[in-house]
């Protein structure tokens, strides 16, 4: 198809303008709002005791959910791509549940299972491990909602890489463990890295499922997204402006992970 230059450039302008309006503008606006009263004001908002507690809770949630879902994700992707068992199809469908079910419902279902009157709730409570309305429940909820990202990023890469390199490694004497660490993992690392970025972004940003199982007590069960929501409802200087600062804090955290992963797994042209 021949497209006249005038058309080509106006199409690009429309596409970019649309994205800018929809995606870039709100994010930039938050940055501007965060620093409109200077850097130190913003810094004060993110260093209140409640904000520091929320920061560490969010870091804790991500620090548990991301490695767990990465290990699970790579393992499950291997099963989905490599195994020929009949359970594979069921597994494939199950993995997408967190994508298709509303996070609020996921939170509610956790209450049903682990709550005071839930199936296993009293068993855990009797042993001094309360889950619902505690950080543990928030971690569980986050693991649940961010579960599919890594699987869905790694599986297609694994498919494309194929099994020939692994077979070659086997004929050269490598055990299956050695083959995994030296051949499989390095060849899918771009997929894993991107999966980690997406999982982290979701783990840090998740609010729906987490809100349901949180007791919403500042300083103990309020993560950064919950703090943003809380602050937007508070009138005065500690309110919306503080929420902007927390929002920027979240964005910066996700950005750091994105940059770190890009450095760890640089894009290569030689996928094969």
């Amino acid at each position: 198809m021949v497209v006249r230059p005038a058309w080509k450039y106006s199409l690009r302008a429309v596409a970019l303008g649309y994205l800018a309006l929809l995606l870039l503008a709100p994010v930039v606006f938050i940055f501007i709002k965060t620093f409109e009263h200077g850097f130190s004001t913003a810094w004060d908002y993110v260093t209140t005791p409640a904000a520091i507690s929320a920061f560490w809770l969010s870091v804790l949630i991500a620090a548990i959910a991301v490695p767990l879902n990465t290990i699970f994700g790579v393992g499950t992707a291997m099963v989905l791509v490599r195994s020929k068992t009949r359970g594979r199809k069921i597994l494939d469908a199950l993995i997408d549940i967190p994508f298709v079910v509303s996070p609020v419902i996921i939170g509610l279902s956790l209450i049903l299972v682990y709550g005071l009157h839930g199936w296993f709730g009293s068993w855990f409570i009797d042993r001094g491990i309360p889950i619902i309305f505690n950080p543990l429940g928030m971690i569980l909820a986050t693991v649940f909602v961010s579960l599919p990202f890594c699987v869905r990023e790694v599986a297609p890469v694994l498919m494309e890489v194929g099994t020939e390199q692994e077979q070659a490694a086997a004929t050269l004497g490598a055990s299956s463990g050695q083959t995994f660490w030296r051949i499989t993992l390095p060849s899918i690392r771009n997929g894993v890295a991107y999966g980690v970025v997406l999982t982290t972004a979701r783990a840090l940003g998740e609010i729906g499922a987490v809100a349901v199982v949180s007791s919403n007590v500042l300083g103990s069960t309020v993560s950064l997204p919950l703090l943003v929501k809380y602050r937007t409802q508070v009138p005065g200087p500690g309110g919306v402006s503080a929420a902007y600062a927390t929002g920027t804090e979240l964005a910066v955290m996700s950005l750091i992970v994105l940059v770190a992963m890009t450095l760890l797994a640089p894009q290569r042209k030689d996928a094969r």
């Binding site: 020939e164 390199q165 077979q167 070659a168 490694a169 086997a170 004929t171 050269l172 004497g173 490598a174 055990s175 050695q178 030296r182 051949i183 390095p186 060849s187 290569r268 042209k269 030689d270 996928a271 094969r272």
Partner: protein, 341 residues
């Protein structure tokens, strides 16, 4: 080390019989080609020898030891894949060194061995490059060096030159033959290219539909094919008076002799030294004849001329089974049909 495949059976799914009771002995120090069309089971047989596939029944022995249930790691084999299976994230050096590092050889030994192999395959300059920076021929030489690094007892090559350009392929064939003459590693080469098999190997096992049709030296399988399939797969064929013959074994004359068949010259194609003649036989079939330029000049052949065809004795000494339908249909011959019935 010698390799023995004994009564190997392998099915894929319910219907597809990849290998049907295949028995083959690969003598120590030989370079044996498994030659056949795609789907003939040649790659499956090789992969079963390597342990990359498991046979449904049968036994694989390397150096007389039963390795049927042994994993590829334990067989002491070198395997080369059609599409190189280069480790994309490693340098050429690290690719070649892989097997040695797995075996935890001292670093100095690994370095010396890799240097030696890179020199052998002519990639010394390329040690620090990644595989994607190499040409196809270079990548396959790297894969060969990688397989040879662990000093395998047997070398198994799965269509190693199949993905390469014709001239690179010819060069690598000669190189492989030279390598084999120097190293004497028992080698099995899978190929669908009869010229490649004839040029490189000292023994050819011709495979068709999961069975071995014939095993012999290149001359034996070419000059004394056991079945019509072997005859037709190893070179061009013509059907004259109901017999399968090689086009270059046919002679033509202007005067009839006993057993000669009359035909009309349809086309004369000059291809340098060789001249190909298309004949319309009296029975309505077309036959191809290959003559030298001198022979053609002597006969003074021109299109539309009548000639007498003198076929040699048929070279097929055995009979193919029912899976020879294609050849039989093409020849449409009484004696062959009787043989099948």
């Amino acid at each position: 080390m010698r390799i023995d495949a004994e009564a190997i059976n392998k099915r894929f799914g319910e219907d597809f019989v990849a290998l049907d009771d295949v028995t083959l002995a690969v003598p120590e120090g030989s370079l044996t080609a498994l030659l056949g069309p795609s789907g003939s089971g040649k790659s499956t047989l090789l992969r079963i020898m390597a342990g990359l596939e498991t046979p449904d029944s049968g036994v694989i022995k390397i150096a007389g030891n039963d390795v049927t249930r042994a994993r590829p790691q334990e067989r002491g084999i070198g395997f080369v894949f059609q599409h190189y299976a280069a480790f994309a994230h490693m340098t050429v050096r690290d690719n070649v060194a892989f097997g040695l590092k797995i075996r935890k050889r001292p670093k100095a030994d690994v370095r010396a061995k890799v240097d030696e192999l890179l020199d052998l395959v002519g990639l010394t300059q390329w040690g620090g490059q990644r595989p994607h920076q190499l040409s196809g021929g270079q990548r396959q030489r790297m894969a060969l060096a990688r397989a040879l690094a662990i000093e395998p007892r047997v070398l198994l090559l799965d269509e190693p030159f199949g993905a390469l350009d014709a001239n690179v392929r010819a060069e690598l064939r000669r190189w492989l033959r030279r390598l084999h003459d120097e190293q004497h590693v028992t080698t099995v080469l899978v190929t669908h290219d009869q010229e490649e098999a004839m040029e490189v190997s000292d023994t050819i096992a011709v495979m068709n539909k999961g069975r071995i049709e014939q095993v012999g030296s290149p001359q034996e399988v070419y000059d004394a094919p056991a079945t019509d399939f072997v005859m037709s797969f190893l070179g061009p064929i013509s059907t004259v008076a109901g017999k399968l013959v090689r086009p270059h074994d046919i002679s033509l004359s202007h005067t009839p002799a006993g057993g000669d068949v009359r035909a009309t010259v349809k086309r004369v194609v000059h291809l340098g030294f060789e001249v190909r003649i298309e004949l319309a036989m009296d029975d309505g079939k077309t036959a191809r004849v290959q003559l030298t330029r001198a022979q053609t000049a002597e006969l003074g052949l021109s299109e539309g001329q009548e000639v007498y065809v003198h076929p040699p004795a048929s070279k097929v000494i055995g009979r193919a089974d029912e899976h020879q339908e294609a050849v039989l249909a093409a020849s449409d011959d009484d004696t062959l049909s009787e043989a099948v019935a």
